[in-house]
Assembly symmetry: none
Homo-oligomer: 236 residues x 2
């Protein structure tokens, strides 16, 4: 039997989250001071500070020297189940997207030119799963990836499929650890959905050039959005 020994700092991390939830704290509210928290939990300031570091890195709070720690998360109900940070290099994500653009632009074109009715039906299904995920207000990363993979499959080139799947999986991992706050911007979601629809339509009509162009635009926009959110994170 293995006794679970969690670090005090991480226990404090949980307790503070719990506290925020319990007290129904709103964005802008001030947390108790580090001194108060350390007395509250019967520990020293050190683990409290480390817990607050993680909280801040996860975007839940902001600590300002002299000003205390302030709750930032907009809604505590869909509070972070999992901590998400950026530890992946921005440059690597951009390189990843660049490579995806190269491969998937052609994959979309080939899908339009070679895809069977069956292939296109599957793509359509994936598109609708994206729609319903959006309707449920979920993130929908998995559905997004599935849509792109389905298009690759319609190219009927297994090597290409494998390469695309490889990159999309990597991308999902990268995004999971790098995207922190810019999830749920509905207007952007609508735009993404519209882009997906345009890609699908072009494929359905068998218009390879158009499909490639739409895919290119779609991924280029993803690239722009990523850069933009990164710049924002830098200035905060």
């Amino acid at each position: 039997m293995k006794i679970e020994r969690r670090k005090v700092s991480m226990q404090v991390f949980d307790r503070i989250k719990e506290y925020i939830h319990k007290e129904k704290m709103q964005p802008g509210d001030r947390l108790p001071t580090e001194k108060q928290l350390s007395e509250m939990f019967g520990v020293s300031r050190t683990p409290v500070r480390e817990a607050l570091s993680v909280l801040e890195a996860s975007g839940l709070t902001v600590s300002k020297q002299g000003g205390g720690s302030i709750v930032q998360a907009a809604s505590l109900t869909n509070l972070i189940e999992e901590i998400q940070f950026e530890f992946v290099d921005t440059e690597e994500v951009l390189n990843l997207l660049e490579t995806r653009i190269i491969l998937e632009t052609e994959a979309a074109r080939l899908a339009a030119e070679r895809g069977t009715a069956d292939d296109k039906l599957i793509i359509k299904k994936k598109l609708e799963e994206i729609r319903s995920s959006q309707h449920d207000n979920r993130v929908g990363d998995k559905e997004d990836i599935a849509f792109h993979n389905a298009i690759a499959k319609a190219s009927h080139n297994p090597i290409l499929v494998h390469s695309v799947e490889n990159l999309t999986t990597l991308y999902e991992k990268a995004i999971r650890f790098s995207l922190k706050k810019n999830m749920g911007i509905s207007e952007k979601r609508a735009q993404v959905l519209s882009e997906h629809e345009r890609i699908y339509t072009a494929i359905r009509l068998g218009n390879g050039e158009q499909a490639g162009e739409e895919m290119y635009q779609h991924l280029s926009n993803a690239c722009k959005k990523f850069k933009h959110s990164f710049d924002q994170a830098l200035n905060s």
Copy 2:
């Protein structure tokens, strides 16, 4: 204008990530000790510990009491899975070539646009090795692959490089295990060399469009030749 004021702990966080990346640390490798890190960056242990807390919470490292901090996740580039090679099928070789065309056309374009003088020198060297292999009447597969890989490297996109290398080595294996190797290639060697030279020239001049076009022609020709020799083998 907003004066940039990043906390030391977060600067340390970035520096450690940078260090892991720079040193190409693999999962399982041990980071320097907290003491060493604090001396390295000229700060106390406190911010170093807070940075490590965030790193650990993000899943990049694990810190064990007494055991040091070890890297857990690697950079994206190292995560790319290789396509395992099963058996050589003509169709698969064509699929492989098709995917290579997609990737390497763009790789050549990027090489022309982003390649440094150094990069181009290396490409030139590889080209000359192809020439000398031809002079020695050797097959020169390795040299051919090295030439293509060097071009990919000049794109300065590690993900793209890895993807291209993956495919070129796969291609080399495929050709090697394919029974019909060296099928009537010798007379086309001069042509292949000329194609390589045209690619190099376009890259050297920084003409991206041209470089892409030449690469496209080159690999398309390889495709045609493969098809042709396969048909011949069928009819014999």
